[in-house]
Symmetry: D2
Subunit: 247 residues, 4 copies
């Protein structure tokens, strides 16, 4: 039984892969970076008695995603961690690059939906679990968040509707909404501006990717009748998207 | 000063165009159907002393949308009614056609965002008003609603964030969320199955497109300092997405 | 047919009374201040051909409310404007006066619920309309808002549930959620500190009680099949509970 | 360091007490039933090397609550599990007993707020954790839920605002919202009608009080910088307040 992780090469995806590998789960890792995936595969298979497969997949390319699911059609998928996605830019909506807006929609919504759609079809076979990674941005929208916030509201809402559609199948759907997690999220948002990215996490103890991975694994390990439908995780020192107790 | 209406050839868009035409507003109408737009233009200009322009625009085609905004760059835009979009299919998520899911995302999110982005850039010049048409589907998600519900949660959330980003510009952003409105919405959703579509509106008095147009016009006609940020409109006989008092 | 207004002696209640009086509605006004109610009665009956009754009622006193409804049992009630309530204090929760917290709960929840309960029993006879006044505080909770915000979330949520329970009766339930309205709200919140109260409305054009009354009347005047379930009203210059474009 | 649990004599409160006792936590248990509390004290102190204190407290009686906090003023409180509350009746709002509505408001809001207020004042001393038990009823309001749903929306909203007010103190606030849990909840709601109560949990695997206790303990045991702000827990076989996959 494999756990499929998207966006597996870094951040929350990678941390979840590490945690699950250490617990003996077989893994299917997908991301855009072949080199990083290959390194993870080697590391995990060297350290743990598990099988790790990886596929270079850009979730925004429908043909590639279809091809990927065709390739894994004989494997049993017990969990899907639908994690790929991100944020580009932090200008006001009217000043944002149209291209960035489309990129976020394509990854966080189109690609996300594609993985969810093919994923749940496979999870029905195994009474498995779908974990969607949303964000507090989808719950408490903030200035300059526009399309990013809205893509995460999309994830929250579709997660709820999937609970209805999958009722009776045994498939669980879990929506995990983190606040500030120190991954490369902010570096990507600020397009490599390390100073701006670092400032997001300065002066307080932020969440780590491992903190989120711990929640994902906790949710997966619940007895089959328990569905942790929605988990909102904040650093104790952060109270809202714009509220931090910085030193 | 023109009011730009997307999805103007039928339903809420058309009813809004009619109401505004009768009140003397100049209009720019866009939709995919040239013939319908042409007919509306002729009718409105025959009946009212207004200017009506129309453009055949599929909002999901970025090049076409860019070209359209280039063509209207010398016109003053006082209002944008961001109404194009719809729903395809009412199967469970796992049984839906992937193609339908993508079509909804492309129209309700990609196209919607494109119009909003270029629209607000123009509205800043005129301290104008953006009206987004969402749905109760984005607030109270329901079975078999999946991607459609989530696209409308996208609209609700981005509408809120735009209020932040446009604060101080004088631009107003209004999110109107109707429940059951008898337009061709259900006929499109059920792909021409008239019986299924009619059943949605059977046995109670549903909303008409004119009922929604009346709210839009009311919101536009408020004094400039009043922003009706969010209006949820139900038939009195309907209490939720699945709750109707049918005879 | 009478419209019953609670908190009728000032602010939104009074403005609504004035607007409805001018349109020829018979009124039943309740509040704690006999003198103010008496003055309104005299003024309205002098100016308009309507009947105005008033009762000195503290909605937090169950016996008084029961007695009040007993006294009006022979009158037809077409609308109830459930407006009484307010906010006390703006300290952090841990620093607030327990007494203030209880006072807000008693007015905004206990009294509100009592009026709603007896009110809808009467509205069922007339297929009338209940208008609840909530606040953006119930949608976008903010620092130092604690109990006040939560009481308004109570109002929002019970308004939605009443729609279910009253489905099929013809009774409409409308929840109106204003942002910054310049009434004595802030003077009460800051316990008479006029400087603090005025600062809330400084440097931008806030809403007036009349602006809200206009929405209430618009909602009441919709055709019977149209229920404006939820209306969120902001000053254009305000984007959130903490976001103002002040000069 | 003590964990204070309200509503500790049965259901989620008792299960949480049992789980924490087994992990060696000192406990302060409060509820209305002296006999049940005494039995729990004896059992826990016989089995585990912990201190257990109990107090007969009706949280709706302000004087009793004040007196209780005076009595424990010298004890260190590391956690407060704000769990007391419940539901009375399942008629439509217009048919409900006014007395039941007030009882719910007094327990779920007045008593709840009192415990939260005095509780956080004590938790600031210890950088402790407040766990509020809300319900999916506060998120997805349902027919005949009226006041109960609204009291739980109150809990959800005040929990969020407390995060703002306590930012920088190190105190964590956690809101746990369960769906169907088989406790005496439904027996109380249906006022002893065992048949109706049992029907709620028939034909699918519902949650147990222990399932919820496990989430509470998990949240408490997170590292101090991790605040699981909001956890929504459903049985896998339940998708909404009215949606069950029953056999």
């Amino acid at each position: 039984m494999y756990t499929l992780i998207t966006g597996a090469s870094s951040g929350i995806g990678k941390a979840t892969a590490e945690t699950l590998a250490a617990k003996g789960h077989d893994l299917i890792l997908i991301a855009r970076s072949t080199a990083k995936l290959e390194r993870l595969q080697q590391m995990f298979m060297a350290r743990h008695e598990i099988d790790v497969k990886f596929f270079t997949v850009d979730v925004t390319d429908p043909a590639v995603v279809e091809d990927f699911f065709a390739q894994i059609q004989d494997l049993k998928i017990g969990n899907v961690i639908n994690n790929a996605g991100g944020c580009l830019g932090k200008d006001k909506f009217q000043d944002a690059l149209l291209e960035d807006l489309f990129t976020m929609i394509d990854a966080n919504i189109r690609g996300f939906t594609h993985i969810a759609h093919r994923g749940v079809q496979r999870l029905i076979e195994t009474q498995g679990t779908l974990v969607n990674i949303s964000s507090i941005a989808g719950i408490e929208p903030y200035p300059q968040g526009h399309v990013y916030c809205a893509t995460k509201a999309f994830v929250k809402t579709i997660s709820k509707t999937l609970r209805f559609d999958l009722m009776g199948t045994g498939v669980r759907v879990i929506d995990i909404a983190p606040a500030a997690v120190n991954t490369n999220f902010s570096k990507v948002r600020f397009k490599g501006d390390v100073q701006k990215a670092d400032a997001v996490y300065a002066g307080y103890q932020e969440l780590s990717a491992d903190d989120i991975a711990a929640q994902i694994v906790w949710a997966l390990e619940q007895p089959p009748h328990v569905n942790l439908e929605h988990i909102v995780i904040y650093p104790t020192a952060q109270a809202g998207p714009r509220d931090y107790a910085r030193e």
